[in-house]
């Protein structure tokens, strides 16, 4: 039964480009990118209990590094991609070291502040980042000689990366380390007493989460072939955080659903409703009122209640 559902999903995702128009293929590719990004943030927010408002740092930094290396150093994607991931992860090691001196709202604020520093640097360090003009003239990679310039090929590429990313994040959460992580979220003192190094558990999660954020950043810059400081802004971070919370933090499907909701409101519904920003606000408020734990757990709860009621 469960297998059938997964197979159906796989077939639907694989077949989507064959039935949908170019616009919908591209929109779905962007949902994949946003979903990977939100899922990586969920490791911190949902499983680690550490709300970050600076996650755009990793998306933006990886994108900028890759763009800068290809534009100014003339390197190919085979080099820029791993180098950008490595560079971003190293910065995350340092930022994690600073940020994890705090927890809770302090953590939220310090991640916000650090990401603002990156944002300000991108805006002001014009000789490297081209400031407000952003870096343009970028290309998409061609893994195994397959060009990703078409909507369909990029769709499969983004899908593949997203599946790998989500799988590896799910394995991380399901591992004994993931159990320890949830322990530090719920009972930090007890975990400490049990001999776990709470700080190190959090720090590793921070870096791992930033790594997948960086992966989504590469997808982002490949897709857009352009990077602008706006991608490092509070708005960009907040959008990911809102996606995680709206979908349901601490669940695997939650961030995916949340990211999809925001992406569709912003890019699809906005074509029909002029005041889509207000609508998005109302959607968030309604979600919080009716499903304070997020859409995915909320729907699951309703579904179980319905089944219970039907079976008497």
């Amino acid at each position: 039964m469960k297998w059938a559902r997964w197979a159906l999903l796989a077939v639907a995702l694989a077949a989507f480009p064959w039935i949908a128009g170019e616009y919908y293929i591209n929109l779905t590719s962007q949902i994949f990118i946003a979903a990977t990004f939100a899922a990586s943030l969920n490791l911190l927010v949902g499983y680690g209990g550490l709300p970050s408002l600076g996650h755009a740092s990793w998306l933006g930094l990886a994108a900028y590094l890759s763009a800068w290396m290809s534009l100014k150093l003339g390197l190919g994607h085979a080099l820029t991609a791993p180098a950008a991931l490595l560079g971003t992860t190293l910065v995350a090691c340092a930022f994690g070291w600073i940020s994890l001196r705090a927890t809770g709202l302090g953590f939220l604020m310090i991640t916000l502040a650090l990401s603002q520093v990156l944002w300000g640097t991108a805006y002001r360090w014009v000789s490297v980042t081209d400031g407000d003009n952003g870096l343009r003239g970028l290309t998409r990679p061609a893994p195994f000689g397959i060009s990703l310039d078409g909507a369909t090929s990029f769709y499969y590429f983004a899908l593949a990366v997203t599946v790998v990313a989500i799988t590896l994040m799910a394995m991380f959460v399901a591992s004994p380390f993931g159990a320890a992580l949830r322990g530090t979220r719920d009972q930090p003192r007890r975990m400490s007493a049990l001999g776990h190094d709470v700080w190190t558990v959090r720090w590793i999660t921070f870096v791992y989460s930033a790594f997948w954020g960086a992966v989504s950043g590469l997808l982002f810059v490949y897709y857009n072939k352009y990077i602008h400081p706006a991608s490092l802004s509070i708005t960009s971070s907040a959008e990911a955080l809102l996606g995680v919370i709206a979908g349901g933090s601490g669940t695997l499907a939650g961030p995916i659903v949340g990211a999809a909701i925001i992406m569709l409101l912003k890019n699809y519904v906005s074509a029909y409703i002029e005041r889509w920003n207000m609508l998005m606000g109302f959607v968030f408020v309604l979600i919080v009122i009716f499903m304070p734990e997020g859409v995915v757990p909320g729907v699951r709860r309703l579904y179980l209640r319905l089944r219970k009621w039907r079976t008497g």
Partner: protein, 416 residues
């Protein structure tokens, strides 16, 4: 008449899939309506200008029965929120779903740059409002035409006016710390210093600065004039605070094309009187087309059209005239581009034509804020005819220099 095969297949595929997904399929016949896209901003800090862009374009279509060169025109509007990545997504929506054949917009430089490679790959006809210099200079986009101006195109004549007519010798510049501000101030500086003046101070406050007090305290007051290169609400806020500090009347203020726009003036009082600005448009420009434009716009919305409203109204006129010449065959992109770059059109801003890079050559007006019928207007006091983006410099020599920026031309006369 070349019919692009790839696009046809895409269109057919999209039609099929659209019906598969349960959306109404759109047939794309040659004789069908022209599908015009407007990329604008209707949410966030840039919304004021973006909404004016839509209003003026809708007005143009209304005045012409939504018909150009005998074909109906259908308008599709995208709201980018002023965010570059979103602007690109919205453009894809307009192109891939709404099948637009030509775009007017976007509003802001970053959005134009973010869409640059997409415009090239889709060969999308574009009539831009954004002022990014290099899109018609060192990295020209072959599908890009701009009927408004580059960032510095209006600032350069103003510098000439300051040096030669107002006889200013020492000036300072202040503008938003974005490419638009940098380019405008750089162009102003170059022309002013080439005419013998000196720019003794350059300030670039961040775009989202909470308070200008600390910058106002830094202003040198022993200068002949201050050039303001702000856009949107920032110029308005800066000037109000400038007044607060009692500097009005002590130092003369001149402004770039967006600093004292009609949209800003309608919320200002006597403090704005006498300020001199330059722009490729003013609601006060005397010609029959503009008279009708302003009158109709005032009837509908109760205020004078400014920079952004005029931008789409002018672009629409350029589009209309080009289509007349090619008998409405917008499908022939090569012919469209060839025609638009050779055409001369009478518009609300006066006659315009285009250089071989796609940028406008047209009048730039020196304007002074005056009171007329109880409201503030930008009264035209001098016209610089047929101003090119290169001002009076030779194109080849101009393009050999780096693009205008914070650091170029170098400021040799700064005093600390």
């Amino acid at each position: 008449m070349t019919f692009n095969r790839r696009r046809f297949i895409q269109a057919a595929g999209a039609g099929l899939s659209a019906s598969a997904l349960g959306f109404p399929a759109v047939a794309r016949a040659q004789s069908g309506p022209i599908r015009l896209g407007l990329m604008t901003v209707k949410t966030g800090p840039l919304a004021s200008g973006g909404i004016d862009m839509e209003r003026a374009l809708v007005q143009y279509l209304k005045e012409h029965n939504a018909t150009m060169a005998g074909r109906k025109v259908e308008l599709f509007v995208g709201d980018s929120g002023g965010v570059p990545a979103q602007s690109r997504t919205k453009l894809q929506e307009l192109v891939e779903r709404d099948k637009i054949q030509i775009m007017i917009g976007p509003l802001d430089t970053a959005s134009a740059l973010a869409s640059d490679d997409y415009i090239r790959s889709q060969q999308l006809l574009t009539l831009s409002v954004a002022a990014a210099e290099d899109m018609t200079q060192r990295k020209p986009n072959p599908w890009f035409t701009r009927g408004t101006s580059t960032s510095s195109q209006s600032a350069q004549p103003l510098a000439d006016y300051c040096a030669k007519t107002l006889k200013y010798k020492r000036m300072l510049t202040i503008a938003d710390d974005i490419a638009y501000g940098h380019e405008m101030c750089a162009g102003f500086q170059r022309v002013f210093e080439d005419a013998g003046g000196k720019i003794v101070q350059k300030l670039f406050p961040p775009l989202t600065v909470p308070d200008y007090g600390t910058y106002i305290a830094q202003l040198k007051t022993n200068v002949d004039g201050i050039f303001l290169g702000f856009a949107g609400s920032n110029g308005f806020r800066f000037y109000r605070q400038f007044n607060e500090y009692g500097l009005r009347g002590k130092v003369a203020v001149v402004g770039g094309m967006t600093a004292f726009d009609e949209a800003v003036l309608r919320n200002m009082g006597d403090e704005a009187l006498g300020i001199i600005t330059s722009c490729w448009y003013s609601a006060d420009v005397e010609n029959a087309i503009n008279k009708r434009f302003v009158a109709n716009f005032r009837v509908d919305w109760g205020y004078d059209p400014g920079f952004y409203a005029a931008a789409t109204y002018v672009e629409a006129a350029v589009l209309d005239a080009t289509l007349q010449k090619i008998h409405g065959k917008i499908e022939d992109k090569q012919a469209f581009m060839k025609t638009v770059r050779a055409i001369t059109v009478d518009t609300a801003r006066g006659p315009v034509r285009f250089d071989h890079l796609g940028n406008v050559v047209g009048n730039v007006y020196i304007r002074r804020v005056e009171r007329k019928d109880g409201r503030l207007v930008n009264r035209v006091i001098q016209t610089y005819p047929n101003v090119s983006q290169f001002w009076t410099y030779k194109e080849a020599e101009f393009l050999k220099n780096p693009v205008y920026s914070r650091d170029w031309p170098p400021a040799k006369n700064l005093e600390s």
